[in-house]
Symmetry: C2
Subunit: 235 residues, 2 copies
């Protein structure tokens, strides 16, 4: 069980501060040689560290040391940017697309609409310290927000636009958290290799009048996030 020793050695280097957050590890061939083994075994060890959230990969770029995860409370409306700033992180958001589309079967179901209804779809990638950690897709009931896309979605948070221009606020959030893996364009947008472990957060949001507003599907690099929340139970 050679790969356990390799793992421990790398963990030790991280904990001793020889390797610090976001730093690139040496090339696989060099590491393999250093541990006197083959690339296959070395990669076994690295994949295990990846599963534990200690290192991450950028596709074809190499292996890096994972920084501290950001703490995320899905029951707060606090948007990504403010959440990050509150934790002394450096957020950035990239708007990939914002358009009006016909609801796919999947999206229609989430939004409780008939298929082919008009909806907005907004795709964004979010960064922490210039590392892409989150791919979000929003599906929004178009009827509730006429001309939403004329607002500047790349500059303002959706929740701010809802509140300021339409008087709509989140009141109830239904969320679902699963683990999966990144594939295809989502993986690409996060500079991840296909198969990278992911945390998927799906939220369906309701307004103060109980109306379904929108739904967001979030793909997080799993080492970048820890869900952290409090529930008060009614007697």
């Amino acid at each position: 069980m050679q790969y356990l020793k390799i793992k421990d050695a790398i963990v030790e280097q991280i904990e001793d501060g020889m390797l610090t957050a976001r730093q690139k590890l040496p090339a696989e061939r060099k590491l393999a040689e250093a541990f006197d083994t083959t690339r296959v075994t070395l990669r076994e060890a690295l994949s295990m560290l990846e599963a534990e959230g200690r290192v991450y990969r950028e596709d074809r770029r190499g292996w890096f040391v994972s920084p501290e995860p950001m703490s995320y409370d899905p029951t707060q409306t606090l948007n990504f940017t403010n959440m990050a700033l509150a934790q002394q992180r450096q957020p950035r958001t990239e708007l990939l697309a914002a358009k009006q589309v016909l609801a796919s079967k999947h999206a229609a179901k989430k939004l409780e609409l008939p298929p082919f209804s008009d909806i907005y779809r907004v795709d964004r990638v979010r960064y922490l310290e210039e590392r892409p950690v989150l791919y979000v897709t929003n599906f929004i009931r178009a009827e509730l927000f006429p001309d939403l896309l004329k607002r500047d979605c790349s500059r303002n948070s959706l929740t701010d636009i809802y509140r300021e221009h339409y008087g709509v606020e989140y009141q109830r959030i239904r969320y679902r958290i699963t683990t999966s893996s990144l594939q295809g364009e989502i993986a690409q947008a996060l500079r991840a290799t296909a198969g990278t472990p992911a945390m998927v957060v799906e939220r369906i949001n309701y307004s103060q009048t109980g109306e379904l507003i929108d739904c967001d599907i979030e793909y997080w690099r799993h080492d970048a996030i820890t869900i952290d929340s409090i529930a008060e139970l009614s007697a």
Copy 2:
């Protein structure tokens, strides 16, 4: 990218019902031959399916098709058994140990106690349809529950004992969800290979008087669970 085709082929067999939940896949060597490839590449495909939660491994026993995950709401006190029954699942719990111990540094911190305080520690493995899916450790403030261990912990749920014998109920739950991987004895207890992806749920529970009661650390096989909850926002 051969492993993608292998993945798709296996997914198709699952979705067509040729392979059904909990069924064992053919031996790796047979699958490798069937797909005209080597075990290394085949295992690459299987690992990816494992990350997606479509198949799971039992250590040295082989690969199996994942059943539907159980839906879990950490903000409900509903215990594992009742939660499972409500979803037409077949739960079983195995008590590994229930004893009074001196708090480790880690446990003491969670329970906000000085190190080496007296606490109870209860370890259990929980099954669904005879598949071990969850390893839980409870750390309990001993002062609140004199003679707790004389009650029959293997037969009754802890929350029932708290309520019936001590008049204590959960009122507030602080929870944290992360992804990691199974290692050592926890992996063994779940019949998992070291490195299997896991969902870790850590809960700290407070009573109706606001007092910290206990803390539980749950290691789930990640394909066995989806977190599902609702949050009401205060205005």
